[in-house]
Symmetry: D3
Subunit: 170 residues, 6 copies
């Protein structure tokens, strides 16, 4: 069966890394949603949330950090293309069962390549910022389950993690 | 019992975020080690590793991305102090049981504040770079278990995740 | 009268900051002009200007700083969109009545959102650079009256500060 | 009278701009406080403040923007030295008499050169961020009176704007 | 003969530098190829190449540095326009006759202005990175012959260094 | 003779790139001088110089670009350490025999590692900026002979290119 020949697109035939040519790809509206979590002690979560109720700061700062990081994705990830992002939003929800916080980032662009990396980067930096602001009280916090959950636009069309056979519930 | 009063150090009494004053802290040698993983299909791991054997590229690019990100941590994480890092190294090891790759970042500074965020940021960006370079063949890869595993220097001395009561084996 | 319901566009219904979605806005040619001033001792102004006659440097460096800052506006202002600026120019004129310098920045883009922030940022950084280069002789310099003076393109059409009822002469 | 010979320190004898040599200056603790304001319609101020009461966002985002800008001052202002800032804080207070908001930035370093530019830059970017977030409802807002109000440490010792003969009340 | 009146486009009539207005230029596909070299001791070249055979690192890191620098060209070169690069690739070839390495960078964009500066910047930074990684063994390495070798698209059409009368073989 | 075993310091035993540990190195005053040139048509040189006499701009902008690039060296060159530069200056001299311009950059730091890369980067970016500003009139300009000419401080003491056996006159 010859059809199964996936390739690492960022590596050319001679093995060198390069920023792939997207100039022939269509300019379409593209959206990506990524999600991740930061697990912590129940007490740390309470502190952040009560802090938040009064002050809005840990989660507010994390959202800003995530949004700003999305805009710098191409500076951080070597082979990412610069993209004129048309939207970035970050939602942070508490989850007592972790216990911890779930970060969801949505990015959008009208461009020739997708915005998955921007969403994943936003997610990661929002989590890292929460870690930074709470690390004095809980050094063992863990960032995890950062992954793409949905992707629209571009040649590959609509993709959802939930539809993947082996990935189970996201 | 008055001793249990942990506080979110980046939030002042009025609830505003600020970059805390470290000017009175000792300048000491500080080291941090962070670790994370990226889980993928077994086939993706083989492709990266065989690619790597011949070419050195996915892992090589990810290492560079992690090192460069460590140096920009203070630009990305709003309340982090700028630090004159004296060392950054990234180790990436395959783990067939994930299957996937385990990224370990070590950072060092002689400074007034710790280098945990630099190690965690290096780890995250190395994982994101691996995702970027292999996403064309495996969109469902997941970044996880990013956490501090060791920390030396500074007022709090030597800390190891493995010694924490609830954290189990890292 | 239901029509008066201005809203802070960068804050969503839940109160979280986000980079607003501009993907449905038209791509049109947009221009913005911002102006600001830096007031100083008459002696400082003379020194800068005579320095400039011979050397071209304080004002030349300030112009470069303003232009470069315009290009980084989206990195500095959290909810600004990245924009492919097609023009930035800075004009710096002495004003003996201040005494001081008046900085005018003009920015242009063909895009889905305006370039006001780029013009205002260019203006501010040009003023800050003048402060930096002359602060050894005049620490009390004051930057002021930084505002948008004109805006063309986009849904809101042509807007001029001079036409605003309460703003008087700019 | 030979004593009156102030010089523009960033310009060498040949008239070229350069980053002056601070290597012989003492490493001392240095602090700077800068202040600025953004004037707006009374209605805009109410909207921001009530928004803030519920959500904490405009002022919260502006504080983060100011802090992050302080850390990048040397990238933005051509002849500024990079500095390992040990503290940055931003305070934003409403002032009904403007009407508007007053932004105060405090920066600290243990270094060979002062942190005035960092405080002034933080102030300017916090004001610009407020402008950005409220511009949809009030395009005529004006940023002004950005100046150094206090400076401690370094050869010149303690300086306060309030003590300057011609500057009046700050 | 009035036709010979070339002008420095980044300087306006009053002598001030500005980022020229490209908003009226056509959006076309544009490509640039730049080349440069780094000369070194024969022994250094062997060390890099043998290192490379086993490890892939000096040249791999230099390629990544060149690609990442291309994306930041507009931040580094004051009057360059920001461009949404659609492709960057770097090729590094040994040349025993130098002895040294020859770096070729290719950049591509669909935009209103050319990508020469991006290709030249990529080339320069790849060479500087090689210098950095080998300087401990050969401080006298020299970077040279960095120039544009080909340019396609835009008003001026196809240009090749090899076709220039005085430039001889490149 | 076992003494001849130079090694590429940025590559560890396993072949991976890393930012070498400088934490045990002495903090000393370190200076570096780098030089480079940009060759052009005689007519282009005259245009830049006459432009300069009246306006100061091409060379002025190039100096600023070089100084600003020096401060960002560690962001651009993957394995460079961040350094608190205490001085950067750029001198640009015409040379009719090239014909072209000779750029000399001097950098200084009190730190644990040298400032060669900062001087070389400043030199390269000053040349690239000259290219950018004059490319409309002379596309064939060539940047060359970028190399370290002097280095003081650190373990290796005083080094001058002119003293090197094979390098001849610099």
């Amino acid at each position: 069966m010859a059809e199964e020949k996936p390739e690492l697109t960022h590596i050319d035939k001679t093995g060198a890394a390069s920023m792939v040519d997207v100039s022939e790809k269509d300019t379409t509206s593209r959206t990506a949603v990524a999600r991740g979590e930061i697990r912590m002690k129940a007490q740390t979560l309470r502190m952040i949330l009560s802090g938040n109720a009064k002050k809005g700061d840990v989660l507010g700062v994390a959202r800003v950090a995530g949004i700003m990081a999305a805009k710098r994705t191409h500076e951080l990830i070597p082979l990412c293309h610069p993209l004129p992002l048309s939207k970035v939003s970050i939602e942070i929800d508490p989850d007592d069962t972790l216990p911890g916080l779930v970060v969801t980032a949505t990015t959008k662009v009208s461009g020739q390549t997708g915005v998955e990396m921007e969403a994943l980067t936003a997610c990661s930096l929002a989590c890292l910022t929460i870690y930074d602001m709470a690390k004095a009280v809980d050094r063992g916090m863990t960032i995890g389950e950062i992954r793409l959950v949905e992707k629209m636009g571009g040649k590959s069309g609509h993709w959802r993690l939930a539809d993947e056979p082996d990935q189970g519930v996201e």
